[in-house]
Subunit: 468 residues, 2 copies
Amino acid sequence: MSLFDSKLSVVNVGLGSFAEAIAAAGGEVTALAWAPPAEGDRAAGLELGRLVNEPRVEAANRIAFAAYREAQPVLEGIGLARELVPRMGGRTILHAGPPIAWERMCGPMQGAVVGAILFEGWARDAGGAERLAASGEIAFAPCHHHGAVGPMAGVISPSMPVWAVRERATGGLAFSNLNEGLGKALRFGAQGREVIERLRWMAKTLRPTLAAGLALLGPLELKPIMAQALHMGDEVHNRNAAATALLLKQLVPALLGSKVGRRQVAATVAFIAGNDHFFLNLSMAACKAMLDAARGVADSSMVTAMARNGVEFGIQLSAFGGRWFTAPAPLVEGLFFPGYSVADAAPDLGDSAITETAGLGGFAMAAAPAIVKFVGGAPADAVANTRAMEHITLGRNEAFTLPALDFAGTPAGIDARKVVDTGLRPVINTGIAHRRAGIGQIGAGITHAPLGCFTAAVTALAEAVAAE
Amino acid sequence: MSLFDSKLSVVNVGLGSFAEAIAAAGGEVTALAWAPPAEGDRAAGLELGRLVNEPRVEAANRIAFAAYREAQPVLEGIGLARELVPRMGGRTILHAGPPIAWERMCGPMQGAVVGAILFEGWARDAGGAERLAASGEIAFAPCHHHGAVGPMAGVISPSMPVWAVRERATGGLAFSNLNEGLGKALRFGAQGREVIERLRWMAKTLRPTLAAGLALLGPLELKPIMAQALHMGDEVHNRNAAATALLLKQLVPALLGSKVGRRQVAATVAFIAGNDHFFLNLSMAACKAMLDAARGVADSSMVTAMARNGVEFGIQLSAFGGRWFTAPAPLVEGLFFPGYSVADAAPDLGDSAITETAGLGGFAMAAAPAIVKFVGGAPADAVANTRAMEHITLGRNEAFTLPALDFAGTPAGIDARKVVDTGLRPVINTGIAHRRAGIGQIGAGITHAPLGCFTAAVTALAEAVAAE
């Protein structure tokens, strides 16, 4: 009886309607957000139960997370994909996300493939390029299968220039193509004449110029640039204004010290200075290098890649090396360029979610309150997104500190178990491509990884651990 | 009697000890921070009372604040002080803060004057320079008396290069010297051989190089650069990393397009890229130009300058043009370079508080959480400092938005009445010079303007308004 005489302090877990009734009756109630694991998927929840506090998984995650955290990516050079990227002979074209056949590719990816074929000179016009792509004579493969990453369509063909980033602890190499700028760009599915001509200039002029500068600079540590950029309002995925400026500050004296002609240096500097996203591809290659260091640790539930091909969203776990777990790619909420809306948008696309996988991008959004002018929302959302990611990660990366959170390290090392358990899905800042080939970027926004790939990965891990 | 039967909700205004007693007795009490106007100075409080809600002052402040807010400072060029700054003939040396004679100057200002004399070749050694300075043959004057501002010692001599910033609405010109970098620098009182040689290089090589670049660029709008820097973690007083990088991004293509030799361009770029404070002096000249636009509005209590000579802190009110109201310069709390402490520090020094006067620096600290690693404190202090300044300013400058405060404009236009009324003193981020000549910078920190100059200014304004 004493329960009814004393004052009640109620904590309500889960369904909000119970709390509302108590509050309506004048009671004090604290509502605690909670949902059943795996959004109520009983089978997945039971598989998850086999992995929670499992000592082998805990030990494996410590190893994988330490390898990621201690990784030291350095920019080693730049060259043509066919010279640097393994197995790029013949008519190979890399694309973003998990594997996908030409017929199933989304519009912007098909547009970018057509552009790459024209750039390579394998066909005379768009119609011929489409026929060649459909003929089976092109070897399509995910960038990730070749140690590479590419934003949006992520299309890399043999004659395109790529950055080469070395991870010093493991010696591994990661690659990315070079950023073309916003708007009409191959990675957003545009393939008009100016797009192809820009790609030719990048291969012919930009590449050797940067190579000459890098040769003088020597291997360039990327983590310090990224860390400094986080103190200057970047999250190094959709905001790279500071990182690009910091790169330029190091590059210009080297370019001037090189033997490259003055007009070529001027054109290169103007190109980089005119594109605040230029550093993005370096950020991605650095993140890929850091996460590759954490690959292949048996029993680890740490996510080592998140990537989207515009149709499917795929993730990889450390335990399973290159194996993909996929789910349909989500749409992106955000800010659209004038004249466009979500009805025009391709689903989530690109390897750039490698930055979120490495604790940057959406995970480090607290560092970049001004980004909401580009992706939508309010500055408080930026901080809230970072805080939410603390619940699904293995720890913090003290190399990447966030001033607004009292210089706490960014939450990093996504634990697939925690995603399934909490239902909190990784947040991703991303560009938005038009759903049809040939048009280009139409906006930028925020999306979340679909839960399905995490439940599939956790189920597979539970089976693998049980079978040992 | 009902007072003693019902539950009390107490608001305690002022002295905290009353609130403590109520809380100790189990009562509910909200303590409201409040102090009597003018920190209890009855005479000053009565003078203030004559100005509060005074229609002439309100109207004047609207005019002055609008002029400041609508000001458009553009970088017009660079040249030698004797060519650009009015009345710089003969042996004139400008210094920071309100007027001060050689004998009363603080150590670092004397050191900088000696350095300037050596740089000009008016004496052969430091002893000769000191004798010349004491002889009365040098015309000393505040920078502000010549439309100029200089950080720390603020010493400008005729052969030094200066930036020229034009305010488009009024046509007025503001000047500042060029930033030498941190550590051993003339503005911190160092005057060794490397300091003088650097000044010579700046006059002989840096100045014409920048002039050639600026000639190609054309007049450069400074507010957009400052606004963008606020979105990149700068407050454009003690943190100018982004603003400097943004300036460089615009300058480099122009320098490469000019006729200046490649080695000279490379040396110039390396100098700017190596000094994250390079933009400071441009920020100061821009702030001076914006505030000069608000000068000379009769009855206005808006502060148009705060400046320190290391002995006295001076302010100017719009109503009184160039008249100074002074109080002893405070000490600076902050972070000291290894081996130094506050015992080694000169009092607050420099014209750089012109940035705070314009709503930047400490007033815009919410934009620059990472600055606390340089000036001390925690990121929350940075936001709190900006919020506090909202109580002593006339409005917000919507050209300078602060992402962390939901893109609110920075609080700007210090109202001397509000400072005296609330006792909230303007917060200033600043460098710290060694108290002795010849040593240089020993740290950076935060200080507050002394109340005395504001009570003096308010008293004078009350008398002037009453006499009309």
